[in-house]
């Protein structure tokens, strides 16, 4: 019923989708798998009207159609659960559920809150969420917000006549088992009048829920196969273009780390976030922290960079106990932070490549109090060469670079700041496969040069692939520690059972 014909999309010359043809049949659950940057989210966004294709077309029951915004898409019965949430924190849950549809709940131009809340409560119950729809959305837990997103998309059901298409972009990544069960149940109920596109990193889930699976790689469909006949390893091979072998993460380059401890946590904790975390980060080691959102890993990482000063225990850098009250303190201790929010926290997009590279250590190009522009330029050009940063010049604004190159600029910034400990917060989010491999290569190289890395990754594969050591957290506690030396790496299920 829904078809894409030769769909292509590129950002700033960088292709994200190439001639994608997919087809969604009535009452069908279509799985969509692929590496980050394979184009899954882009494809979903085009279907939902958030983005417009560069070329190619959409068809519904064979009829071409165009959607300029999610509203038009919704009118056609196409709804989406966004991966990065589309809820406003400062208004109530009910308002978010029916954002843009207030008209349906007004009498004589006035909002009828009772009706709105009743309707909202219905939608929430459908996804088994028992909260007051009048609550400020900001007051909800992340998982709860994800369920609200879901309810918002599913609420299409009574808005639109006829067949629905509901796009689920990573709906499960932050959900607990029970919630996932409920989600699956809802999907099954709705199948009689809706078809779904289901995107997830958890391949087992995809296989469990879907009828057919499309595999995307580097923006094109590389395979379509019935879920019944597929298995996880097979999917993975198709996704990464090679067997799930150690080499993807360059494990052969994973040198054993040196004995000396550069960062040490003893009974570290932040009241209400996480508690009693102990670890030792050695020179050249990659320490990965795994755990679902809300497990406390985000907070732990932010503590190590001074965003969220620890309230319990102690943190030692090179053996000396430190208190990191601000990021500046952390930087002074030789810690660098590669954030997941690259464009807001990683770079000042209006500033040039060179200016960003020296941002964390302006002293390196300072003569007295004077910035030496010549020196800044040479320094920047040197990094551009060494990290193969693709840019029209070091004075181009960083906003004009592709994600991968931006990420390299961020790394260059910390290398300029002579950081010895790098915190990689979802370092490959939104990068295409090529860029990812470069990041992996860089991580390996850095470790060889004696830097140490604390990492939280998008996927468990990545976590396992890159790490020397893996810290698994749940509800603010460390539930397991795995050694991940090449050859003897744990498998995803080992981690998951300690995560949820």
């Amino acid at each position: 019923m829904l078809q894409t014909i030769q769909l292509s999309k590129s950002f700033g010359g960088l292709p994200a989708l190439r001639d994608v043809d997919i087809e969604i049949r009535p009452h069908e659950v279509v799985g969509l798998v692929g590496e980050n940057g394979a184009g899954k989210s882009t494809l979903m966004k085009i279907l939902a009207g958030v983005q417009q294709p560069t070329s190619g077309s959409l068809r519904r029951d064979g009829v071409p159609f165009v959607v300029h915004n999610p509203r038009e898409a919704a009118a056609l019965g196409i709804g989406m659960v966004f991966q990065e949430q589309s809820l406003l924190p400062n208004i109530s849950v009910a308002e978010n559920l029916f954002l843009g549809r207030e008209a349906e709940f007004t009498r004589f131009g006035l909002m009828n809150w009772r009706r709105l809340h009743a309707a909202a409560r219905r939608e929430l119950q459908r996804v088994g969420l028992d909260i007051d729809p009048g609550r400020r959305t900001a007051e909800l837990s992340f998982a709860a917000r994800q369920m609200v997103e879901l309810a918002k998309a599913l609420s299409l059901e009574e808005r639109v006549r006829g067949e629905l298409v509901i796009l689920l972009d990573e709906p499960t990544s932050v959900l607990e088992r029970a919630e996932i069960e409920r989600l699956f149940a809802r999907v099954q109920d709705l199948r009689n009048r809706a078809s779904f596109v289901f995107v997830s990193h958890r391949l087992d889930e995809v296989l469990a829920l879907s009828d057919r699976v499309y595999v995307l790689k580097d923006g094109s469909v590389v395979a379509t196969l019935p879920a019944a006949e597929a298995n996880v390893t097979q999917l993975h091979r198709l996704m990464v273009g090679r067997a799930l072998n150690a080499e993807y993460y360059m494990e052969s380059d994973q040198a054993p780390y040196a004995p000396e401890v550069v960062l040490q946590a003893r009974g570290l904790g932040v009241v209400g976030a996480y508690r009693d975390v102990n670890f030792e980060l050695h020179r050249g080691e990659v320490l990965a922290i795994a755990g679902v959102i809300g497990s406390g890993r985000e907070e732990l990482v932010r503590s190590i960079f001074g965003f969220l000063p620890h309230t319990e225990g102690e943190l030692r850098v090179n053996g000396l106990a430190v208190r990191l009250a601000t990021p500046a303190d952390a930087v002074a201790q030789g810690i660098g932070y590669v954030p997941r929010e690259r464009r807001t926290e990683g770079l000042v997009t209006l500033l040039s490549v060179a200016q960003n590279i020296t941002l964390a250590n302006l002293d390196s190009v300072l003569h007295g109090v004077r910035i030496d522009y010549g020196q800044e330029r040479t320094l920047a050009e040197d990094w551009v060469k060494r990290l193969h940063i693709r840019t029209a010049g070091v004075d181009m604004p960083c906003g004009s670079l592709s994600g991968g190159n931006q990420q390299k600029v961020v790394l260059a910034k910390w290398l300029t700041a002579r950081s010895r400990i790098l915190i990689l917060d979802h370092p490959t989010r939104g990068l295409d496969v090529g860029a990812k491999e470069e990041v992996y290569r860089l991580v390996r190289a850095l470790c060889r040069d004696g830097l140490s890395v604390v990492m939280t990754a998008d996927t468990l594969e990545e976590t396992i692939g890159l790490a020397h050591t893996i810290l698994v957290m749940r509800d603010g506690n460390v539930t397991a520690v795995f050694d991940a030396v090449p050859g003897a790496k744990p498998v995803q299920l080992d981690l998951i059972e300690h995560m949820v």
């Binding site: 208004i91 007051d132 007051e139």
Partner: protein, 335 residues
């Protein structure tokens, strides 16, 4: 205050629960400040908390409240409206020139009220149109309109002050209903209206939506530009009404009648707990904010504080009031 009572937040993990309690308590801070202030002043001068004086405080707060309500809506969007004094001047001048007065023979009685309000609305609409149409920051547009508005008032007046003789208009300030001047009742009515607009109309909700995240608002198909223009128009209308009220209270129309009213108005809005970034706060916050600012001014006179010191003390008190009601956790970035 804009706190939705949910089920006990105990369902949440500890960190979020604590943050939630903090946020909810903060939302009430301005009110606590106001109460504390009143008690403090009353200790200094027991006459403060007497009906008679509270009525006077209410009277003094009436016009600032109407103005602050207009400002609130604009600030909820995350924009700012500096044209207040200009619009107010035009409103008062029109009132004085069209109602029975000592400068010309015109006498339209209470019909001047809608005229002045409409004039204000038009200027407000101009603000909005220029802001949205040419994508000029509201700060700059309204700054220009501020100058232009005062200029226009001067032109209309040809210099000078016109005395309002229309009894119906004067009665707004002079007659009392249930011990409260009509002025106060008007302010309360406007407050109610503003509250209804904020809580019960899509327009009101869109203010929060746009203030909370213009990009997401756009994705959800919210008519952003139309909303913005509407809000500036509304603000203008409120200022126009403020002009009428000022003319009624002082019995004159005058291009300087708005002098020194803008910054107190913005201050009141912020002190009430409405964020300059937009999306947080509301008209009830502004009610509290206006009361804080008015009570402070009234109190300093009651306590007989030296004129030299008054503005300094007010400054310090304002900082204190804002400091306690600001959420240092959420507002990591303050501009």
């Amino acid at each position: 205050m804009s706190v939705s009572s949910g089920p006990s937040p105990l369902a949440l993990p500890g960190r979020e629960r604590r943050a939630l309690y903090r946020a909810r308590l903060r939302a009430w801070a301005p009110l606590l400040v106001l109460i504390g202030l009143c008690l403090l002043i009353d200790i200094g001068n027991p006459r403060f908390l007497t009906i008679a004086n509270l009525v006077r405080v209410a009277t003094a707060a009436a016009i600032p409240l109407v103005l602050a309500l207009g400002t609130t809506f604009v600030i909820l969007l995350g924009s700012i409206d500096l044209s207040l004094e200009g619009v107010l001047a035009v409103g008062s001048v029109l009132t004085s020139l069209l109602a029975a007065n000592d400068a010309n023979s015109l006498s339209f009685g209470l019909a001047v009220v809608p005229v002045a309000v409409l004039a204000g609305a038009l200027i407000g609409a101009l603000n909005g149109a220029l802001h949205v149409g040419f994508r000029i920051p509201s700060f700059m547009v309204t700054l220009g309109i501020w100058f232009a508005g005062v200029g226009l008032a001067t032109v209309l007046l040809g210099g000078g002050t016109v005395r309002v003789l229309e009894p119906l208009v004067r009665d707004v300030a002079l007659t009392r209903v249930l011990d409260l001047p009509v002025l106060v009742w008007i302010a309360l009515a406007v407050l109610l209206l503003a509250w209804v607009i904020q809580e019960y109309t899509p327009l009101g909700r869109y203010m929060y939506v746009i203030g909370g995240g213009e990009d997401i608002a756009a994705l959800s198909g919210i008519p952003i530009n139309r909303t913005k223009v509407a809000v500036f128009t509304l603000a203008g209308a409120f200022y126009g009404l403020g002009g009428v009220m000022a003319a009624a209270q002082l019995g004159v129309g005058n291009a300087m009648i708005g002098d020194g009213r803008l910054f107190p108005s913005v201050t009141a809005v912020v002190v009430g707990g409405t964020s300059l970034i937009g999306g947080e706060g509301g008209v009830l916050n502004s009610l509290v904010g206006v009361m804080i600012v008015t009570v402070l001014a009234n109190g300093l006179v009651l306590l007989g504080v030296s004129p030299y010191l008054q503005q300094a003390i007010q400054g310090l008190m304002i900082i204190a009031a804002v400091a306690v009601s600001i959420d240092r956790v959420r507002s990591a970035i303050v501009k």
